[in-house]
Symmetry: C2
Subunit: 194 residues, 2 copies
Amino acid sequence: MPAKRPPVPLSRERIIDAALHLADAQGLRRLTMRRLGDALEVEAMAIYHHMPGGKEALLDALAQHVTTVSVEAGERAAWQDIAALWCRAARAALLAHPGVLALAMTKPPRGSAAAAIREQTEQLREAGLAAPAEAVRAMRAYVFGSVAVELQHTGWADPTAPEPGPDPDGEAAFERGLSALLTGLGAADTTGAA
Amino acid sequence: MPAKRPPVPLSRERIIDAALHLADAQGLRRLTMRRLGDALEVEAMAIYHHMPGGKEALLDALAQHVTTVSVEAGERAAWQDIAALWCRAARAALLAHPGVLALAMTKPPRGSAAAAIREQTEQLREAGLAAPAEAVRAMRAYVFGSVAVELQHTGWADPTAPEPGPDPDGEAAFERGLSALLTGLGAADTTGAA
DNA sequence: GCGTCGCCCTTTACATAGTAAGGCATCCGT
DNA sequence: ACGGATGCCTTACTATGTAAAGGGCGACGC
């Protein structure tokens, strides 16, 4: 009796889900094919049938997953409000999976992540922002950096910190900086557009 | 004739230096003890004598190295100028070693890196900033994120991009965002101080 | 019923990684 | 000259990523 067929046949989604849990719980270093197989109750090699490209492809998929967000912009919303929504959504998505932040920041956006960036740019342009690409770039930088610093403060991935509780100042600091950034972007935008 | 003693006896500094070169040239994934040994013309195990703690300690040291900057503040400089100097120095240090950015953002600051943060905070306080800790946090977030996005744009660590030339817009975008951020920080600071 | 085909998963195998244990030059002080 | 100390090497073991090939199970044709 070498093996029984698993009841639910293992899919790309289940793999990504389990990988996210593993990375968040134990860190990227502990995300290995064999451990991932264990979590899915499957041998490591089974993963390769659903993830052509092996671990590299898996990491790409994880990065894409935590950087793909989508926001419904109200028809007549100010670009500042739309921008704030995007930034908060991106922060939440990254913060939900601290284990893969390093991947998200390192890997260039691809596929759905790149599409999300394009949509964000388009929404801001339609809302009247003159230089939306620059603004989106600055916002992405700010969100990435904020989450990274916030995770540093929580002591995530810090062996000397036993309890990785949330950073109480995280959200407030984020909102303050976001407000400052949007203000600055608005000033630069009207200057350039005038 | 098993081995000859190398002419220069291998030190922590030489190890870190070689590791930085390796990580920058080939990526963190290719930074291995054996390859590092090859680069130093030594067997891998020799490294452990100068790096107690093994690879983990090495990575910590690399992160510390690229996040430790120091700025001489003029006696009577405005805090905005001091802040800008720190941010530019931090950006330059990170940009000089793209391979270890992920480490720098992930690992909490320790030792000299933490000391640099404290000194930066102190300088800004002395220059009249009412809430220097918050400002330093926001600046660190901004610098980290900017460098990450800039490296994404250069296509560093992107197999589909053959030539990782510098991002032409990187510096300009950085300066724009920095100016916006400092403006916003100044407004929040006077509000809080008043 | 009975091949047989194809899909998923497992087994096996190998190159490479980190690193603990112990060995053997070489160098220094005496 | 000689006894450490120091600094590097050799060996060995475990864990990882992944190529290659094998096996069971359902579906489908006859």
